[in-house]
Assembly symmetry: C2
Homo-oligomer: 232 residues x 2
DNA sequence: CTGGATCCTCAACGATACTG
DNA sequence: CAGTATCGTTGAGGATCCAG
């Protein structure tokens, strides 16, 4: 667009100016889960044009949402990581992810699951209150869908979500789209395992704890705030 | 784009597909505050091309986020309103609005404030807990910035935000960009009134209650959720 | 091999004019 | 009032090429 500004002094308009370009939100999603190199981003965002990624990264850096850093002498590789300002996006992106997940059922033809999409789904579904009430020990979940692996570590009521595997997983789950139904609360994890749609290794006694900690309800996931849709 | 899909089975990607087009979020912002006619939307979104608005409305209707309804026989006018699914966006858009507001200071040249941007700012700043603890009476705030007027009604701890004036305002405020500083907590409402930057009519005893109910903190407005930015 | 830059094409956006 | 029609501009998509 000639001028990406909306000409309004409005927080939402400003957010839309910064995040509204194609691929921007997914680049940030991946970077919010781990610092990434250019080629790692390309790998995690199948279909992104090479120059498109370069453009987005430059814009995001200019807007102060990410930082481009050169590694120390040994490899001299380039890494992108989110700035503090970028970190503050997490609650908003999680709210968007919950909303977007509400009308997903089956993957459409050709749709893939990436490590970042999986981890993002987990993080957006965290129920802090439930996690805080959880037992005081340490629990490590690992979730795998195809090649995509993500994990979550619960310790002292705090949940840390990340991409990639964890060798020390307390409960390791592997499955397909049935995960969506489990996260949505439409399917009991134990039932999914019984039906063979999800394979579990480790402490099967954590099935209920997993479901209690991660939930992306199918509808009305978000705390309601009242507006006046019929006002004037 | 050739195909607006991102090819990922991911709630955030799906949300980005639905909301990522230009003007889409602002159209929804306005419709989430009140049903609107085509010409009212044009008026509230200065600069939107006529055909662009028409395109967005058709897409939003096809995606099930808004409903196009013809009024009864008398006038035969067309009104757009958000669907239930669209309503569920409120928490996510409010979170985005808070994030976006965090690095706004002065309006950039040419930027305007509309009734919807004002009301949206108020709604995104609602502190439900504070509002719930408020007195049991009924309070009506009216806020005006230039031609833009919005209001909020507190009753039984529930806040309803809307566009347009309220004749029954308990406290009526009028001012300029100083409102941003008050909402951000950088400026006491009483001080702003003392300096003449904001004019108040009605019950001046509500100054503290207003600030306690509406806050869009400058930084770290959102409840922190932990991610693993350095994980792997 | 990583980290891009360049080029070309086409669909989305934008401005304006016009119509049922 | 509620849009269409037309047309020019620009950014996105995709392939290829280049430098360290």
């Amino acid at each position: 667009m000639r001028d990406r500004s909306y000409g309004q002094f409005c927080g939402l308009a400003h957010a839309a100016e910064l995040l509204g370009q194609r691929w921007t939100i997914l680049v940030l999603r991946d970077l919010l889960l781990a610092p990434r190199r250019y080629s790692e981003l390309q790998e995690g965002l199948p279909g992104i044009p090479s120059n498109g990624l370069a453009r987005r990264l430059k814009e995001l850096e200019a807007d102060g949402l990410i930082v481009r850093e050169l590694s120390e002498a040994p490899d001299r590789s380039v890494r992108y990581r989110v700035s503090e300002r970028g970190q503050e996006l997490i609650p908003a992106l999680d709210a968007l992810a919950r909303w977007g997940a509400a009308d997903m059922r089956e993957p459409r033809p050709g749709e893939v699951v990436t490590a970042a999409s999986l981890a993002s789904a987990l993080r957006s579904g965290i129920r802090s209150s439930t996690a805080a009430a959880d037992r005081t020990g340490r629990t490590v979940y690992q979730v795998r869908v195809g090649d995509a692996v993500a994990h979550a570590v619960l310790e002292d009521g705090v949940v840390q979500v990340g991409v990639g595997p964890r060798e020390d997983a307390t409960l390791s789950l592997e499955g397909g789209p049935a995960f969506r139904d489990v996260l949505a609360g439409d399917l009991e994890l134990a039932d999914a395992v019984d039906r063979g749609e999800i394979t579990a290794h480790g402490d099967h006694g954590l099935f209920e704890a997993f479901t209690a900690t991660f939930q992306v309800p199918y509808r009305n996931a978000n705390p309601p705030v009242e507006a006046a849709p019929s006002g004037r």
